[in-house]
Amino acid sequence: MQPTKEAPHAHADAHHHEDPGFWRGYVFSTDHKVIGIQYGVTALFFLLFGFGLMLLMRWQIAKPGVPVPVLGPLMAKVLGDAASGGSISPDLYNAFGAMHGTIMVFLAIVPLVFAAFGNFVVPLQIGAVDMAFPRVNMASYQFYVLGGVIMLVSFFIPGGAAQAGWTSYSPLATVIPTDGQTFWLIGMVCLINSSLLGAVNFIATIIQLRAPGMTWMRLPFFVWSQFVTAFLLLLAFPPLEAAGVMQLMDKVAGTSFFLPTGLVVSAKVAEISGGGSPLLWQHLFWFLGHPEVYVLILPAFGIVGEIIACNTRRPLWGYKSLVYSVLAIGFLSFIVWAHHMYLTGMGTKISTFFQTTTMIISIPSVIILTCLFLSLWGGSIRFNTPMLFSLAFLPMFGIGGLTGLPLGFNYPDIYLHDSYYVIAHFHYVVAPGTIFALFAAIYFWFPKMTGRHMNETLGKVHFWLSLIGMNLVFQPMFVQGMSGMSRRMSDGGAAAYSLATNPGAEGALSGTMIWLNTFIAHSAFFLLLAQVPFIINFFWSLNSGRKVTSDNPWGATTLEWQTPTPPPHGNFVDAHGHINAPTAVRGPYEYSVPGHPADFTPQNQPEPVKA
């Protein structure tokens, strides 16, 4: 372990490693750390872009038909009729809605939480020199970029981007007269291939390249969570690819896989052969869609587990329970998908089955959250920025999880389905849940990636403002949903369903509910402002942040902190530039072990030196 990040190994690198140059070093790199950072930066861009789409939608909901300030003229110029006069037409609103979901899930969160941090951290934590298939890893990133570009281009084609929601239900998705859906499908095939290559690589790496002594029960919890996530991506995505191919055939080759007999479009019998099944699409979509939810959340559990153990200076409470719970979730997540489909009339027996499995899967989720809470007990907690985000993750994810229970029972779901309640529920899981875990991970591993700390003060400002902003945005949606406000309406229901336009109507939306649309729009803008300290902090710290004085600035036990900072190509390189793979001799969380000289004992530290 090098005491400082400065010169010796940098010098040795020059001797033992060829300088790959700009293109091989930064663009077509096969180094897992560079690819991880490429994924991270690209996905952060998409995260901001997806957030921007949402802000435009919230503007339209709060002030239907009013031209968008600042961006309006530009949108009118670039997007044409869909944004004529700078205001957002219902079609454009639908396109933004579909693309917000798609971009956030497939281009922002999953690439960040799985591909970016998984790529950077997993090989380091298991003591590997790189991924098992470095060139496959590069191809995975290239497929991802290609998919992203196709999605972005689709905004500018005639007719605009896909408009049938991120779920792309047929026949709606097939009959909307835009090629955006075709772009969406081709983009999705690229993204699915990307995640397939990534998943194969992650699993093979974890099975094959664990350092000597790194047994399965010595793997850090983060590695376990990524391992299970990779299996979910490997096995759940292909059926969606199959569905995507079939919808593409419907769109391009004129087949009727998802188009029923007698389909009427615009008051005319569609010229199709019929005989297809709209329900089939939903089954195939949600067969991916539900495991995808766990793809979003399991790595977040892993991140929070690592940070909590390090910042409470205690071992994770119930490591084995955590591991078995993650495995149980991974398995169960394949048999809960149809709880998204209670309203399709698929039959009460099938609903009962999926309702039962849905309740069962909440058990391991609760075990994980409980273990993480119990880990705090009696710890000497350090309230730094990564820890604050991790601590906030626990109750925020708790809200998201508990509000999911009424949706898992088919009876209340019939009332709540497709309302703003659902939006609030899953955003609590993903936004102040997974995204907070992501922020925690960025603040936590930034010193290892760059050799510099991010600014703590700006970090804390970012945290508190984000925490407030997230709750101001999503809490009102529970209220709106329970009062019956349906999602996917471009004016938030003001024109057709408000009490103002339907005086005295039973169940119409009251003035308060419509006013909440404006409130949420303000809150969302506040949330955007809350990200400004983060963006400043991120770029400023790259060059001007406080330098790390140790390779292990947090005093952590896992192996990624036992490399030089930032880790060179080959990771575990000694002062002479030779690769010196570590040997794990103990479990991942030996914090505050009585009798040890320090309050942390790294996994590769052989015998504790007597104080």
Partner: protein, 294 residues
């Protein structure tokens, strides 16, 4: 920098990296084709009675293709075994035979596909169908209006004889050329009026003078759900055959240079590509009975 276990197996797993990788990849492929096979089951179970075609595919050709693939899965193993026994020239022979089998398979498939794309059905105004292969068609000078279409096949009033030729194979029909004037063909919008249900999707390019789509369909994927799933499944499988042929062909040709420098790694490559090839064969072993026989 070298990645460990690229050539030699790791002791505790007994596998080299690429072998783990290919098995994981194949697991994912099982889910891909599994999704499509499940869709096949759901679509077939959900089809209206008497609307799922039967006996449309050429069983002798399908059987021939099955045999070709089974032979190739023998040769692909022999190629790997030859390397293990250090017989490089035998490897070249068997590897070449595998590629040849792949190409024969694709050529036969092309003939089968072509047969479907030239097989038409026309619904005439007297309520009868003409079903047969395209001989010629006449469009007007602008190429927008269909004047007449000539098919070589049979005429019947019973749609079931077209949907299930296997069941009606004992009924004799006169096979000859029929020339049908465009004006004698039912418009899509009037299908219900002649007492027929929409049995297939018409080709949009064949219209009458008023721009109405006429009930002329060829057995392309659009024709009905059966041809749709048939083309999707076999098309995706054919892409796998093509991909496998390219990889195996590469290892037979330029890729074989590695045998001189790193024989063990090269043998591993051949083994991994062989595992993929077996999977491709296995998919066909399911496809053949499901699409041709059931």
């Amino acid at each position: 920098m070298d990645i460990p276990y690229t050539v030699k197996p790791r002791e505790d797993t007994g596998l080299f990296n690429a072998k783990v990788g290919i098995w994981l990849f194949l697991a994912s492929e099982v889910m891909l084709f599994g999704g499509l096979f499940s869709s096949y089951i759901l679509l077939r179970v959900g089809a209206e009675d008497g609307s799922w075609p039967h006996g449309w595919l050429n069983v002798p050709l399908g059987t021939a293709n099955t045999i070709v693939l089974i032979v190739s899965s023998v040769t692909v193993v022999m190629a790997w075994a030859s390397l293990k026994m250090n017989q490089f020239s035998k490897f070249k022979l068997y590897q070449g035979l595998t590629v040849l089998c792949a190409l024969i398979f694709l050529v036969i498939k092309t003939f089968e596909y072509n047969d479907k794309f030239t097989h038409y059905a026309v619904l005439q105004k007297d309520g009868s169908y003409v079903d047969g292969h395209l001989v010629t068609k006449k469009m007007n000078a602008a190429g927008t209006v269909l004047e007449s279409i000539t098919l070589h096949g049979m005429q019947t009033k019973d749609i079931n004889q077209i949907v299930d030729p296997h069941k009606h194979r004992k009924e004799k029909h006169e096979h000859k050329e029929f020339t049908i004037a465009g004006t004698n063909i039912v418009r899509f919008a009037d299908v219900a009026k002649v007492g027929q249900r929409i049995a297939f999707r018409p080709v949009p390019s064949m219209k009458d003078a008023a721009g109405n789509t006429l009930m002329i369909g060829n057995r392309a994927p659009r024709y009905n759900t059966y041809t749709a799933i048939y083309f999707t499944l076999t098309g995706l499988h054919a892409l796998h055959v093509l991909g496998g042929a390219i990889v195996i062909g590469f290892l037979w040709g330029p890729g074989a240079a590695m045998w001189r420098t790193e024989p063990e790694r090269f043998t591993n490559r051949v083994e991994v590509s062989g595992l993929f090839w077996h999977f491709v064969d296995l998919v066909w072993i399911f496809l053949f009975p499901v699409l041709y026989l059931l």
